[in-house]
Amino acid sequence: MLNARLYMAQRLSAMIMIPLVFGHLAVMIYAIQGGLTTAEILGRTKGSVTWFLFYGTFVAAVSVHAAIGVRVIIHETFSLKGKWLEATTWLIGALLLIMGARAVLEVTFA
Amino acid sequence: MKVQIERLDTDILILGSGGAGLFAALHAQESAPPGTRITLAVKGLIGKCGCTRMVQGGYNVALGGGDTVERHFMDTINGGKWLPNQDMAWRLCEQAVVRIRELENEIGCYFDRNPDGTLHQKAFAGQTADRTVHKGDLTGIEIINRLMEQVLSRPIEKLQEHRAIGLIPTKDGAALAGVLFIDMRTGGFRFVRAKCVMMGTGGGPTMYKYHTPSGDKTMDGLAMALRVGLPLRDMEMVQFHPTGLLAGDHTRMTGTVLEEGLRGAGGQLLNARGNRFMFEYDSRGERATRDVVSRGIYSEMRKNNDPAQIGMFISMSHLGPDNVRKKFPGMVKRCADSGFDLAAGKVEVVPTAHYFMGGVIVDPDTRTALHGLYVAGEDAGGAHGSNRLGGNGVANSTVFGGVAGDTMGVDIRTMKALRDPDESVLAAEVGRAIHPLAVKPGNVQALRHNLQEAMWEDAGVTRTGFGMKRALNRIAEIRNKLAATGVDGGNLAFNLTWHDWLNMASLTEISEVIAAAGIARENSRGAHFREDFPEPGDLDTSYFTVARRVHGELEVSREPVLFTIVRPGETILPAGEPETLVAAH
């Protein structure tokens, strides 16, 4: 159940995530190796516009990307389509966006 | 047995989806008044059955560069040994030029090009110019796929896997009312009334032990025409392709064509002892025309007369296996899939029944003696005479299919109403079809084998009067056995064995005509070679045979060929034209 627009949205969001995921993986490896605590992590991220933009973009992209991805799986597995499929897509996207936004905000500004 | 017949009406009904049927549908749709209902009924799936799809070599058309319609025409007449209906042959050559442009420009076919972007043309045996347009060696796939798409995307009604079993005339017999079908998927009967019917079921000489056509082609159309009293011409003319694959009785691969180009490229024919033999029969050796090579191979087979080693061999390896693989990738792969090594080894071959020149007598506009019935393609007789040139077959079906569509589009404007069928004929045709269902089931396939042996031995590549009379007896015996052989009618849906029986009924009916017409022709022309009459006979008094059923009896007569355009010994080419434009090999 993908038309050209959904496809482009999914592929473009994937492309945006490429550097972000790369960076995230690097940070995680570094973090785990350094045995970082919460405080240490927060110390680096709090008030940082860069981190905000970094994770904010990721959250926005992944919400779009995953919502469309899961939409496809739902359609193909349960033959769901039409209104319900649209609603599900939006719901997943919105859920990810809200939870993600909250996390990013808390980590960078709160 | 109580039989339900579902009834359906349309305006234009087309039988068959080869080059003839598909073109008829497209042209009828263009030329008939808006709102005309057009229905395409076919024994298989649209575009996926019949022989047009199997065309390898290509499509003959004179497109300049020295070649002219006149030259194409003269080649066709010479090839047909002065038997063609000249007006039809002319129409074929002239219209092929338009049809090829239509195929390229409107239908969307793409044929092979020269490096400069113009169409590539080559010469088949028997042609005096590079004339054959092609798409590699899969020309038919390109033509039929594109035609099929066009038909599928237009408002043309489809009756797929609908087998026509009877042409049903009106009560007074003056016109056609409609066609009776079996819906093969359900096994039910369906009668379709139409103002115009175009028959393009493609003949198909599959009553021979070795044959090339697709499995759905079993002379149904000609058998139906014969039963409704129409005259058939040139029915003795069966073209054999010299190199059919021989792989045993149990496989459907047997009889399929190894392409002509193999011999053209230098392929050698070897006998059982591994020696070349074609030069004993013709100075051109393996490159001689189909009929000559077929007879050469057949003679060697008879000389050899060894049941353990039936066929001869085609060998390519002297040309270098890698070279062969490169030049004939499709053919090498096909042989390999079947377990043969064409590139490096040798492959056993036999002459194989390929094309049927005979058919319903039509005028150049495809009209028949029965009002409302039109016939085009391999079902129609006349355009090729005693021999069809390679490349003229698909030209013929596409040209006349289109002509039929145009003609029907015009004629239908004067046909105000659908006609009612003669119910007694309808009932008789249903009765004929359900006959085996009431008889104890037996082995239909064994009878098909018997028929194929009989025709191959007694009415095949070379013939004698004695042999063909024996063929008639053998056919009569097989016909009787068929009538006593039943089919289990427990489930009629997609019941192939029932259709095998019906196929056999058509094949025996037409086999009889082939043998009878062969007896009536006491000379040898083109595809028809009689050992007891090996000479071609006087050209000026050429005759063609006409067979028809009169009060149930088969009658064969001879009618003089009318030289409406050119007489034997003359030519319509301008004086001083070279005999051939093809560079010698």
Partner: protein, 113 residues
Amino acid sequence: MIRPHRSHPLWLAYFLHRVSGLALALFLPFHFLLLSMVISQPQTADALLRFTDHLTVKLAEGGLVFLLAVHFFGGVRLLALEFLPWSGKRKTITAAAIAFAFFVSGSFVLRAV
């Protein structure tokens, strides 16, 4: 058993990509939840993060990174196939992507442990 029409590298790559994508999509909300808690309930969060010292948890985390890596390289492979002029080396790309994903996640897990 993998059905016969599926037993080839491209199909397996497709399957891995789907499974990893789905698993990521299911995991991501929890991940976000965790991050939010870092602020609102630091104790719980710290406890949780310390919890990641346990071997099993580390392996599970490693699994997720593995998923991300698989999906990431599979995704890059797809984007390359779809948007770069076709190279004729699809199988090689597929194999390389899978191998690389294993390498990255493998080294991650080893380092983490």
